[in-house]
């Protein structure tokens, strides 16, 4: 069984106190709890502070382009279905430039886990408004306050009928670990949005803020995470400031399960050469 030791890399370069440490921690704990070897994991990330996850996690990594973790990660998974594949990135990465891929990853439903470190700010580029910045947020690019409505990630995922939707908080690593474990176990695309405070550039959406405002649906026995429309209502009512397993549809078929001809064994082990008979059949089609 792998231990935390096996994932050790050089110390992460995030600012001390950055929420992303918590996410890293929870992700590592989750795979350790699930007994997954680091060599069997790929973390595909976008660009941003959050994007450094691919380097810090200690598995195979693909630190791709800003906004492009999802298409890249989906193909990694298809190429080798035995791998546990994470896509990871920030709110700008995932809900700004990457928004289109997000919605399409949901509909495609390939069995990967998508972790967004949602700090409501562009961290790496030192503090511009992000798509999830609160309305009126003053940032370097919104000196007069933002006027766009923030992206509603959970509601969008629910609207597009995402098979697994959860939201966590890097201030609650225990719950986050559990959510990530469930997400990894879910067959199909799983989305875990994480409130991961940027201690350097966001003085509003802080640990304290979340600690005092978060509604924990996991602790609400009346909440049923299998009712999509109810989930939408609850998230809307709470102004998105909820954590917990928001929704799961355990029955939705994954892309891999549905796709005609998709092989049982990892594609990466395919034999690449065509035999004489293959050539003969194909050539015949051109005669």
């Amino acid at each position: 069984m792998p231990t935390l030791q096996d994932f050790q890399t050089e110390r992460a370069t995030w600012c001390p106190g950055c929420g992303d440490f918590g996410v890293l921690n929870a992700m590592q704990k989750a795979v350790i709890n699930l007994g997954i070897e680091p060599d069997d994991i790929v973390v595909v990330s976008g660009i941003g502070c959050s994007g450094k996850m691919a380097q810090h996690f200690g598995a195979y990594g693909l630190h791709s382009l800003h906004g492009r973790s999802l298409p890249t990660a989906q193909a990694v998974k298809l190429a080798n279905r035995k791998l546990t594949v994470f896509a990871a990135g920030g709110d700008g990465d995932g809900f700004g430039i990457g928004m289109g891929h997000f919605i399409h990853a949901i509909r495609r439903n390939i069995d990967i886990t998508y972790i967004v470190m949602d700090n409501h700010i562009y961290g790496l580029t030192t503090g511009q408004a992000s798509p999830t910045s609160d309305e009126g947020a003053k940032t370097k690019t919104s000196p007069y306050g933002t006027v766009e409505a923030p992206i509603a990630p959970l509601q969008l995922a629910l609207a597009q009928n995402c098979g697994f939707v959860a939201q966590g908080f890097s201030g609650n690593i225990k719950q986050l670990t559990t959510l990530i474990e469930k997400a990894v176990l879910h067959k199909g695309f799983s989305f875990v949005n994480v409130f991961s405070p940027c201690v350097t550039f966001n003085k509003v959406n802080t640990y304290e803020f979340y600690k005092s405002h978060l509604v924990n649906l996991d602790e609400d026995p009346s909440y049923d995470p299998h009712d999509r429309v109810q989930a939408l209502r609850r998230v809307a009512e709470a102004g998105n400031v909820v954590v917990g397993l928001i929704y799961e549809d355990p029955h939705r078929q994954s892309f891999e399960e549905s796709l005609h001809g998709y092989p049982e064994t990892p594609m990466v082990h395919n034999d690449l050469s065509l035999g004489e008979a293959d050539y003969e059949t194909i050539l015949a089609s051109f005669r």
């Binding site: 060599d39 595909v44 380097q55 492009r68 399409h104 998709y262 395919n270 050469s273 005669r287």
Partner: protein
């Protein structure tokens, strides 16, 4: 002795023009002829002029030819549009049930009305007017109606014998009608005597797709775009049988990043697109270069810029293929000259991508991709799979944890072995940031320079048989120069000029990057005037040559960019202008 003829059918889009052409072409190909067909169509679905040109010969031909001997016109536009391509004494068959044709100008061309639609109705339905037309031209070319039975059976067999019969009936009636009323013939040439080893009829797009399969590609991620989508169609038919996957991505950016992801994970993957999609891939191209991830992109060029003429051909993405993306990466740009090379080069692209761990761009174009070519055989036995440097499990096991250096910059050839996710002890990060050996981003000056040098070094000793070919007399002081799909027509031009006593050699690029400077210089030895023939408006190849090899004063351009493929005549006209034939007279 007749050695070839040109045949064309034209009408409005949606009228079945394509299937008429296709049936005639396949029938003749099956008879043993060499057929080349080119489809002219427009970027709208119904209405708009379309035509299907077939050139039929007793020998291998590489383009659809300038001349039309027989034209089937379903409307007057077809006659107007193609009038000037008719040979003297040529025959235009028009659908007399639909309109009364007029000659656009006084010329010695026959206008023969045949009530195609009415005859079709008699045979069972107006939709079969194209079979009537085929019957008519079968008569003109002096085939027997029975020659068409196999094709008609193939085409309509699954709809039942009755449909086959009524189609054959329509064909026979057209045949009979013509013989009854007219008396002008273009007998087909004698069939080639030496049968081809494997007489195939295939388009450039099909050849690329087949090449990908043969080259071990098992994942195509692509977004539909004319004229590249047919690659997707072909692959969709075959990949599932070989455990492969086709993903229709949400856009081209997703497509290319998917191809990168799959390649990273060890599955040969590619994306296929055309200009607009190619432009969207520029950022990811850099990622593949920087992260040293193999990647194959096929760009089936069409007329640009921007949306341009989506259903027309051009060779104008050369600059972007060579120079696109910010910053500097190693890359390889292949420009297959023939349909056979479309097959082989696409297969090879995967070897090169893995061997040099960098992106490989295959530049085809609409003319190459959508035209169908009869060829003797495909070079299937030349296909091999070379996965380049992949580190073995054993080698990895010998290393300590985190000792494996994915980006070891000290390797002499710059190519450090890849580990694939899932392999024990091979963990590393592939990334677009500058990085150290294990793929951690670092910014120190030395690492930067070492890694830049490592990447650049990979192609310093690039070694591959693609590059430059020279046809024609070695010592000729005149040269036709081109790249990619124009090889065939340039060869014919060279032959014609040779027959006129103008000694010309033909220098052709099947790869432009790494630029085969040495081979090109050798080819230019003794050349006083090179005519660079290319389908774009600025002379991109010529400029590329200037940049990498010079010869500014020794080159002239023959450019075409109206969307149509270049004709033999256009090349000859320009060649006669540019080449100093005076000295020979």
């Amino acid at each position: 002795m007749v050695r070839e003829f040109g045949w064309k059918v034209g009408g409005k889009q949606g009228e079945g023009i394509d299937s008429t052409g296709e049936i005639y072409a396949i029938a003749l190909h099956r008879m043993g002829y060499y057929v080349f067909s080119y489809r002219h169509f427009m970027s709208l679905i119904k209405g708009g002029h379309t035509n299907y040109k077939i050139r039929v010969a007793d020998r291998l031909i590489r383009h659809h030819g300038d001349d039309v001997h027989v034209l089937i016109a379903f409307d007057q536009t077809t006659i107007d549009y193609n009038w000037n391509d008719m040979v003297d004494g040529g025959v235009v068959i028009f659908d007399a049930s639909a309109f009364t044709a007029t000659k656009p100008s006084e010329r010695n061309v026959h206008l023969f009305g045949v009530p195609l639609t009415d005859i079709a109705k008699e045979a069972g339905g107006p939709i079969m007017k194209n079979m009537v037309a085929i019957g008519v031209t079968a008569a003109i070319n002096q085939f027997s109606p029975d020659d068409f039975i196999p094709v008609v059976r193939d085409k309509f067999g699954r709809k039942g014998q009755a449909v086959v019969d009524s189609n054959m009936e329509a064909l026979r009636r057209g045949y009979a009608y013509f013989l009854e009323h007219y008396n002008v013939f273009f007998p087909a040439p004698a069939k080639p005597t030496a049968p081809a080893p494997d007489h195939l009829y295939i388009s450039g797009n099909q050849a690329v797709a087949f090449g990908a399969l043969a080259g071990g590609c098992r994942l195509l991620a692509a977004y539909p775009i004319t004229p590249a989508t047919e690659i997707m169609y072909w692959v969709l038919q075959y990949f599932p049988k070989y455990g492969g996957v086709v993903i229709q991505a949400e856009d081209e950016i997703a497509a290319v990043n998917m191809a990168i992801g799959a390649n990273y994970a060890g599955v040969r993957a590619m994306t296929s697109t055309s200009g607009p999609g190619f432009s969207l891939m520029m950022e990811a191209l850099g990622l593949a270069g920087m992260s040293e991830t193999p990647l194959v992109i096929v760009d089936v060029q069409r007329s640009g810029p921007s949306t341009g003429l989506p259903t027309k051909t051009e060779q104008s993405d050369l600059n972007e293929a060579v120079f696109g993306t910010h910053g500097e990466i190693p890359r390889i740009v292949l420009t297959p000259r023939t349909v056979e090379e479309c097959f082989l080069y696409t297969a090879e692209a995967f070897n090169l991508a893995e061997r040099y761990q960098c992106p490989v761009i295959v530049l085809s174009d609409l003319f190459m991709g959508m035209s169908f070519h009869s060829v003797d055989q495909l070079p299937v036995s030349n296909v091999s799979i070379d996965r380049g440097k992949l580190i073995s499990d054993e080698d990895l096991a010998r290393l300590g944890r985190w000792e494996y250096q994915r980006y070891d910059h000290t390797v002499p050839d710059g190519i450090s072995p890849r580990a694939l996710p899932g392999q024990r002890n091979g963990r590393h990060v592939a990334l677009g940031n500058e990085h150290n050996g294990v793929g951690i981003e670092v910014e120190d000056l030395e690492t930067r320079v070492n890694q830049m040098a490592k990447r650049a070094r990979k192609l310093l000793h690039f070694n591959h048989w693609s590059g430059v070919t020279v046809d024609g007399p070695d010592r000729a002081s005149l040269a036709l120069i081109g790249f990619g799909s124009t090889w065939g027509v340039l060869e014919e031009a060279r032959e014609v000029l040779a027959n006129e006593g103008i000694e010309v050699k033909h220098i052709h690029f099947s790869r432009v990057l790494p630029f085969p400077a040495e081979a090109f210089r050798a080819a230019m030895d003794g050349v006083e005037k090179g005519l660079v023939v290319e389908l774009n408006s600025t002379g991109q190849l010529r400029h590329l040559i200037q940049q990498f090899a010079g010869y500014h004063e020794r080159m002239d351009s023959c450019l075409k960019f109206n969307g149509d493929p270049i004709s033999l005549r256009e090349i000859l006209t320009r060649a006669r202008e540019v080449f100093p034939t005076g000295v020979l007279n």
